[in-house]
Amino acid sequence: MVFNIQHYSLHDGPGIRTIIFFKGCPLRCRWCCNPESQNHYPEISYDEKRCLGNEICSECQKVCENNAIMFSSEGKAIIQRDKCSNCMKCIAECPAKAYKKEGIEYTADELLDIVEQDSIFYRGGNGGLTVSGGEPLIHGQFLIDLLKAAKKLRLSTAMETCGYADYSILKQTAEYLDTILFDIKSLDNFKHIIYTGKSNQVILNNFESLCNDFPHLHKHVRTPVIPGFNNSIEDLQKIEDYLKDKPAVTYEKLSYHRFGVGKYKTLGRKYPMDD
């Protein structure tokens, strides 16, 4: 289940890359900028700005068998999420492409076909495939097969992960990775639970095992710096200290942005950072 494929990515691994974003994530980070990745089932997203308004169009309402679509006072379509069955019928009807299906099933071969089309851009700078999410690791065997097949095609591979997964899966994927982009958000377990919904214990254990089993694998550790969560000097210093003697590690802090805000709205959800 993939929610997006992004070409010409410059910041998620070496070179020019193509990213496959998987759907489904065990964490619920409040600052998450890809909320459409969180649920593991297909969802419908709706961009109000594109809607032409009911003065000229009501195509979606006409096809909706669940009466889930009404119009706002400005004449824009609104999905009532409680009535919507995610049947996706409205998508094809909308002339303005205001609706989008988030989550498409692909086979590994189909995905690699798409990735290989960009292969001419990978050559100079070790570019290639990055798998991301959501959390790619929840796709277990599919992910392992995909990476294995990618390696057979001699593609450079990278994975972005939150580290919250069964280690046996992580271990099997690592066999086929050139780079792993691993998030360590906080060493303070209490805060970690509040802001992400899960304990950091599994994550840190996984990281330790990864370092032991794959000392040569390039581990690029990243911390999203979130105001009120981990932006104090001590918090960040602790992470850097922790990483000091780990093998083949590079480190980067990412500054917080609110790109995700609009996306929550398109999915009919509330932006958690505004709480």
Binding site: Q6, H7, Y8, S9, L10, H11, G15, I16, I19, C33, L52, I56, C57, E59, P95, A96, K97, Q117, D118, I120, F121, R123, G124, G125, G127, P224, L254, S255, Y256, H257, F259
Partner: protein
């Protein structure tokens, strides 16, 4: 994840100026920065000397061989034109008054000169000022002489009514119709590059000696030798004398000024200038400075000789100047800073000459005072090695540091281009003013070989004009080409041979009413018939142009600098020169507009059946007012530029059909008339005659440019744009020339060292896809919008348009909007 706003070097510089802060970006300023201040931003003025002296000379030479008349006119100019030396300049020799000037070529379209002069100051695109006394001389002395004699008038008479109907409006001045548009009457040659090396090595005295020898070898009883070859030789000798005379007049003046000069530094400079001008271009250059001055006199005199489309190109400057540079450096006669200062002085001098188009079509095709005096750097040597040298890097550095859109810089790229070269090219692109454009050896050289060139000539090609390539001493084709508006062909397919703008007049073929098409294949076939009909008339046009030009134009200087012309004693403008390769082309304008329209009809009308073709037609007639729902469906159909097979396959068919046409018929013209996708700025005026199109484009707005995607239609980033470009080419046919490709990147995307590296990788992928040309705008969209709102603060904002860069605020609003609408690719 971080997202602070990143500015290009150019944007920083402009902000410094707006805030009145001291500009710290250029720490080492040479004299050229001050010279530039005097000429930048002024509205150009028309200088009538060239037009006037040519007219006076031509009056006295009627009945003589054309090439001789041309040479005598140049001599007359050299004797009479004002000569002056700008304060503090190092490079001297101007062909118009101080400041920015444009000159007249009445032999082209002098018939419309009288009227045009009145409109020039107020024209929206590329306006000019004129002195009232000069305007009087134009309308009383110059224009009347040329009435009835110009190329423009002869061409109009020569075209059959059907061809003429696609070419001209039936008004008094036969203005362009912007359908099958001829460009031969606003320039006497397409882009061109001289063999400057011969001037530096032998001087004009050397060429003159060669001609004297040939004169002695002529058969005194041969009618051909006496009536064709002898005038050629006489003309070349005359022109050699003319340019030397012109240089000597400058030498004399420099000497006089030196005698009067109190400032001892300047006095010495003037004395040196005098010495240089007594030496070159008459004799071989002895050092770098003389080589540059000699090249300069040559290219300036070439501009007096004729109006070469897009301004005469400079050739491979880093190659032919290198021996002089190397020698001077080894002997410590010069430093790299001196070299850069000499170059910068030359760029300012270049920027003073403005390519003046009298006709409004010419002005609209070349907005923002377009110019492509391409300076080529990099590439390979004639024996196939990497050609990059220290001068290459100085030229790139000058382009990064000197804030001027002259010269047009072109960098050749090949598979063994070094990492340093690619990185410096990328760094220069990042500066943000659109230079250099890149030309791909891996596409160009095999094509030149396939057309009969030898390896040594092909490896040694120069970029010429906007996106074309020339082999000096081997190329022999100079006829300007047709620009064809294929979006108009599409419109005619919908309206059964008519266009909304021209009402009931039947201009194209009757290919059937919109309601009669039952499937997409039928509709597509009808479009292709209209396309073929346009090609037919473009080729008829070209046939007549080739025939007539030989009677109207001659190029004694251009011929003097061409080995094949000297060997065969034939003027360059004659249709056939032994040993030459004739590379011509025609333009496909509106490529993405047509692809996207056809894809939308296929998808929405014939596959999804959401609307009938008749409904689409109605919507188009109403410019989509009241049809927004349908327009949205059309807008959201598959589009070219997204690596989408659905649209790209249509594009490939359009390309192939045009290639097959020229494969069959260019032989009859005796030339290679290749398919090219380079719009200059013509996609804007062409759009002004095309009503709404089925891709959802509104009436009278610009068409897509070159081989780029429709404005804003490419949604998957620049890699997909490149892949679509690749997928729509038919590599099995060699009847192709340049495809121009614009990519706009945000500065954030190429930030820092890793940004440079990723830009290099992108360039390498472009190279390996064997695409011909690419150019970049590295600029933030809001900078452009701010410049549109507050032009006075952004007078020196340069943007890449089509093979050249121009000041954004000097463009028409339409073109400004077009540039803003080109999709900006953000780092992801």
């Amino acid at each position: 994840m971080s997202k602070e706003k990143v500015l290009s070097a150019q944007e920083k510089r402009i902000l410094f100026e707006i805030n009145g802060e001291k500009n710290t970006l250029y720490n080492k300023k040479n004299r050229a920065f001050d010279l530039l201040k005097h000429v930048q931003g002024e509205k150009p003025v028309i200088d009538i000397e060239r037009g006037l002296y040519f007219t006076r000379s031509f009056k006295t030479t009627e009945g003589q061989p054309l090439i001789l008349r041309w040479a005598k006119a140049l001599k007359y100019y050299a004797e009479h034109a004002k000569v002056y030396i700008d304060d503090n300049q190092l490079i001297i020799g101007r062909i118009g008054r101080p400041g920015r000037y444009g000159i007249l070529y009445p032999e082209l379209d002098g018939d419309i000169l009288g009227d045009a002069i009145k409109q020039l100051p107020e024209r929206e695109t590329s306006p000019f000022n004129i002195d009232p006394n000069d305007a009087k001389i134009i309308s009383e002395e110059i224009a009347p002489y040329w009435k009835g004699k110009t190329f423009h008038e002869d061409l109009i008479k020569a075209l059959t009514p059907k061809t003429a109907a696609l070419t001209y409006n039936q008004d008094k001045d036969f203005t362009s119709r912007f359908i099958v548009n001829e460009t031969a009457s606003f320039r006497s040659s397409i882009q061109w590059v001289h063999d400057y090396k011969i001037v530096l090595q032998k001087g004009f005295s050397g060429i003159r000696r060669e001609m004297e020898k040939k004169l002695n070898e002529l058969d005194e009883f041969s009618p051909v030798d006496q009536t064709e070859k002898k005038p050629f030789i006489d003309a070349v000798i005359t022109v050699c004398d003319a340019i030397v005379l012109w240089a000597h007049r400058h030498a004399k003046l420099a000497g006089q000024l030196a005698a009067k000069e109190y400032n001892t530094v300047r006095k010495a400079e003037l004395e040196k200038i005098a010495k240089i001008c007594w030496q070159v271009p008459e004799y071989p250059a002895r050092n770098f400075r003389e080589a540059v001055q000699s090249q300069w006199f040559t290219q300036m005199f070439s501009r007096v000789e004729q109006k070469t489309g897009t301004v005469i190109s400079n050739g491979r400057m880093d190659q032919y100047l290198y021996p002089f540079y190397k020698n001077d450096i080894e002997k410590s006669l010069i430093t790299d800073d001196d070299v850069q200062e000499i170059f910068d002085c030359m760029w300012v001098a270049m920027s003073q000459y403005i390519d003046l188009y009298i006709s409004s079509a010419g002005g609209a095709f070349n907005e923002g005072y377009a110019h492509w005096e391409a300076v080529t750097v990099g590439g390979q040597t004639s024996d196939g090695n990497d050609a990059v040298n220290d001068l290459t890097y100085i030229l790139l550095k000058s382009k990064r540091e000197f804030p001027l859109n002259y010269p047009d810089l072109a960098a050749r790229i090949h598979t063994r281009s070094s990492q340093r070269y690619l990185a410096e090219v990328a760094e220069t692109i990042k500066e943000g003013s659109g230079f250099p454009k890149l030309i791909n050896d891996e596409e160009v050289i095999p094509l030149l070989l396939s057309k009969g060139a030898d390896f040594e000539d092909a490896y040694d090609y120069s970029v010429s004009g906007c996106a074309e390539c020339r082999m000096p001493n081997r190329d022999t084709y100079t006829s300007p080409n047709a620009y064809i508006n294929f979006a108009a062909a599409l419109e005619m397919t919908i309206y059964n041979g008519h266009m909304l703008k021209y009402g009931d007049e039947l201009i194209g073929l009757k290919t059937g009413d919109a309601e009669t098409f039952t499937d997409f294949d039928e509709f597509f076939a009808a479009y292709l018939r209209q396309q073929k009909n346009f090609l037919k008339h473009a080729f008829i046009q070209q046939h007549e142009i080739i025939r007539l030009r030989a009677k109207h134009f001659a190029s004694p200087l251009g011929s003097a600098l061409h080995k094949l012309c000297r060997d065969t004693l034939t003027d360059l403008h004659q249709p056939h020169i032994k040993g030459g390769i004739d590379l011509g082309y025609f333009e496909f304008i509106g490529y993405a507009t047509v692809i996207d329209s056809l894809a939308a009809i296929k998808k929405i009308v014939f596959e999804e059946k959401k609307a009938t073709l008749n409904q689409v037609k109605k919507a188009m007639q109403h410019n989509f007012t009241g049809y927004e729902l349908l327009r949205q469906r059309l807008v959201n159909a598959p589009k070219y530029g997204n690596n989408d097979h659905y649209a790209d396959e249509i594009g490939r068919t359009l390309d192939r059909e045009a290639l097959l046409f020229t494969r069959q018929y260019s032989k009859e013209l005796g030339i290679n008339l290749d398919l090219r996708y380079v719009p200059f700025t013509s996609h804007v005026p062409f759009g002004k005659v095309v009503s709404a199109t089925p891709n959802g484009r509104l009436a009278w707005t610009p068409l897509s440019d070159g081989s780029s995607a429709s404005q804003g239609a490419d949604l998957y980033g620049p890699t997909a744009v490149l892949l679509s470009n690749f997928a729509t080419k038919n590599y099995q046919y060699h009847e192709r020339a340049a495809r121009l490709l614009n990519v706009k990147l945000s500065p954030a995307c190429v930030q820092g060292e890793s940004g440079t590296q990723k830009l290099v990788q992108f360039i390498e992928a472009w190279r390996d896809l064997k695409l011909w040309h690419i150019q970049f705008n590295v600029i933030n969209q809001d900078t452009l919008i701010a410049a549109q709102r507050n032009p006075e603060n952004y007078r020196n904002l340069l943007v890449r348009i089509a093979g050249y860069s121009a000041y954004f605020t000097e463009l028409s609003v339409d073109l400004q909007n077009d540039i803003i609408a080109r999709t900006q690719n953000e780092a992801i």
